[in-house]
């Protein structure tokens, strides 16, 4: 037996307006892996994450986080949404956004205090955004916004991290900085699930991968299953990826 099971999804089906966008997904993610979810636009990658996090109700199936339903395990999970899912003109600063990550452990009514602020500043420091802590978020560049959201996830101090396209619109330096932080998390025994579009970098960044297109095509170690066959099944076109090994 490898590691403990961090995430288990059984027979999950999700529909928008009665049109299923995820069909009967079974998925087991072991602890301490860095997993990519790959699939074409509209494949249901974001939907899968949202269903796991209880943001959307599935019409069938169940999800468990370390053996228990998500409701009971919220504290163990952090989430970075896909860009554009928040209101960028909202009157709030970078530091304030990161502080929101601490709200979960505070629960209802209790306010964040010194401790939460300190943790948030450290997280900003870690992603190299301390200098921008008082900047209104719409006045940050796309890559900087992404880093702030990463900091918000870090401050949640979770065991499992979900990130929806964290590399969207960031430059190479930032991408490497982010992936290094993610690798550090894995080393610390955390499980990281990332929706990823750049197939070239999958073998370099990740050790686990899930192919998704409405149905689950395959899931497992990158070394074993990241091949042209699965890519072709997922993307429909005949795939000869430049995964020249």
């Amino acid at each position: 037996m490898r590691n403990k099971i961090a995430i288990q999804v059984d027979d999950l089906t999700v529909a928008y307006n009665y049109k299923p966008v995820l069909w009967d997904i079974d998925l087991v993610v072991p602890e301490a892996v860095l997993m990519a979810i790959v699939g074409p636009n509209g494949a249901g990658k974001s939907t899968l994450i949202k269903a796991i996090l209880g943001i959307i109700d599935p019409i069938a199936g169940s999800v468990s986080i370390y053996g228990k339903p998500y409701d009971k395990q919220r504290q163990l999970v952090a989430y970075v949404p896909q860009k554009g899912s928040v209101d960028w003109d909202f009157p709030t600063t970078a530091l304030d956004v990161v502080m929101m990550g601490t709200y979960g452990s505070l629960g209802w009514i209790k306010r964040p205090g010194k401790k939460e602020k300190k943790a948030s500043l450290e997280a900003l420091e870690k992603v190299g955004m301390l200098a921008f802590k008082n900047r209104q978020i719409s006045q940050l560049s796309g890559g900087q916004q992404q880093r702030v959201f990463l900091a918000r996830a870090l401050v949640q101090n979770a065991s499992i991290y979900f990130m929806d396209e964290p590399f969207q619109g960031v430059d190479a330096t930032t991408e490497i900085a982010i992936i290094n932080i993610l690798k550090e998390l894995r080393k610390a025994g955390k499980t990281v699930v990332v929706v990823h579009h750049d197939l070239q970098t999958v073998p370099e960044y990740f050790d686990w991968v899930t192919f998704l297109n409405v149905k689950k095509i395959a899931t497992g170690p990158v070394k074993e299953i990241f091949n042209d066959d699965n890519l072709t099944k997922t993307y429909g076109i005949n795939y000869k990826v430049a995964v020249n090994k």
């Binding site: 919220r74 989430y79 928040v86 929101m100 709200y103 505070l106 009514i109 921008f132």
Partner: protein, 386 residues
């Protein structure tokens, strides 16, 4: 000031605060229109309450009206969810329907009693002090002041308790729900308090002013700050200021109080829209002009940086070469000199050490687009503020 005068201003101020707080969240959630919808569609609730109690002062009216308000919200969302129409259309469908049900109910049944649409929709502040709250013969003050006072206290309490939850669910629904702060509960909580506020307020100030008091202060303060707490405080301030100054405007012009307060709200918004330091129209125009000059300055400095030959740096040559008109060239040279970026000897311009430094930092920024390098320049130069 006479007693009723003080009371009217007090009522207006309390209504303004009670409206401004939920208004901020409605504006941030892009739901400004919903307050308009609620203010009209509660009519059937009030009429129904009146039929049951035969008393326009019964608290049941407020409760039933607030429920109608929430039904409005639910109906709007339900129609929207069908995906056939957008939110504004859904609002436009729902509230006239509910409103007309109220009108028909009145027309059919209330001919002999004192209940007409005007009385329900067009509250009049001037009359508010005459409707007193009496308890075993003792006069406790205007009724609407009590009603709105209670609503305000409840609003404040809820705001203090659930500020962070409201903030996160307004900013990022996904995170809010992932953290366990049900966006649905918060949404309907906000809608409920908005409905109750609208119902409580419009009896005192009229439906139109309620909407104005909810939306205008929030829209105004949105232009001024990037901090939600400050936005709330500013909204309250603008609301109260407009309410009081509107009252005196009406007094002075002998005009409708509600109309004058609305006018003040509009004026305050206009002033801020024009003069706000960052997002205001004039600030934006000024910034564009400054940025244009600064780009010219940078071009000029880069030219100096590129050329060691004296003839290239001669002031006359510069004018011809960079091909600027005299005025522009002079503005740029003056600006550079004022900032000690250049020195002029015998009509030959050279970069000072500071100028050299500045140019290389700016150059690096232009090439790498790395913001950290120029953080400290942002205070002096618009160009780098994005």
């Amino acid at each position: 000031m006479s007693n009723p005068q003080i009371e009217i201003q007090l009522i207006a101020a309390v209504v303004a605060i009670a409206c401004a707080i939920p208004g901020v969240f409605l504006v941030l959630r892009k739901m400004a229109l919903i307050s308009d919808a609620i203010s009209h569609s509660i009519l059937p609730g009030i009429v129904l309450g009146f039929f049951i109690t035969q008393d326009l002062n019964s608290p049941l009216l407020i409760i039933l009206a607030a429920i109608t308000g929430i039904i409005t919200v639910v109906l709007v969302e339900w129609i929207q969810k069908t995906g056939l129409v957008k939110e504004d259309t859904a609002i436009g469908l729902v509230f006239p329907a509910l409103f007309s049900i109220g009108v028909i109910l009145i027309a059919k049944n209330a001919n002999d009693v004192h209940l007409d649409v005007d009385a329900v929709l067009l509250g009049e502040l001037a009359f508010a002090p005459f409707d007193r709250l009496m308890m075993s013969g003792i006069d406790l003050g205007p009724k609407s002041l009590w009603v709105m006072g209670v609503i305000l206290v409840i609003t404040m309490m809820l705001l203090l308790l659930f500020f962070k939850e409201l903030k996160v669910s307004t900013f990022d629904v996904g995170l809010s729900s992932a953290l366990g702060f049900s966006p649905a509960i918060l949404h309907y909580g906000l809608m409920s308090i908005s409905s109750v506020t609208v119902v409580g307020a419009f009896e005192a100030v009229g439906a139109i002013l309620v909407v104005a008091l909810m939306i205008a202060p929030a829209a105004t303060s949105y232009l001024l700050t990037s901090d939600l707490k400050k936005m709330l405080m500013l909204s309250v301030l603008f609301g109260v200021f407009s309410a009081i100054s509107g009252y005196w405007l009406a007094h002075w012009l002998d005009a409708s109080i509600a109309g004058s307060i609305s006018t003040m709200l509009g004026l305050v918004f206009l002033m801020v829209y024009l003069f706000a330091p960052n997002k205001g129209l004039i600030a934006v125009m000024y910034r564009h002009k400054q940025q244009r000059i600064e780009v010219s300055l940078l071009t000029f400095l880069l030219h100096l940086n590129n050329h060691n030959e004296e003839e290239e740096r001669h002031i006359n040559h510069l004018q011809e070469h960079i091909n600027w008109q005299k005025i522009r060239a002079k503005t740029v040279v003056d600006l550079a000199e004022k900032n000690n970026l250049i020195s002029i000897n015998n009509q030959v311009v050279s970069l000072t050490e500071k100028g050299n430094n500045f140019t290389s930092i700016a150059l690096e920024y232009i090439i790498t687009n790395k913001d950290e390098k120029i953080e400290h320049l942002k205070d002096d130069f618009f160009l780098f503020r994005g």
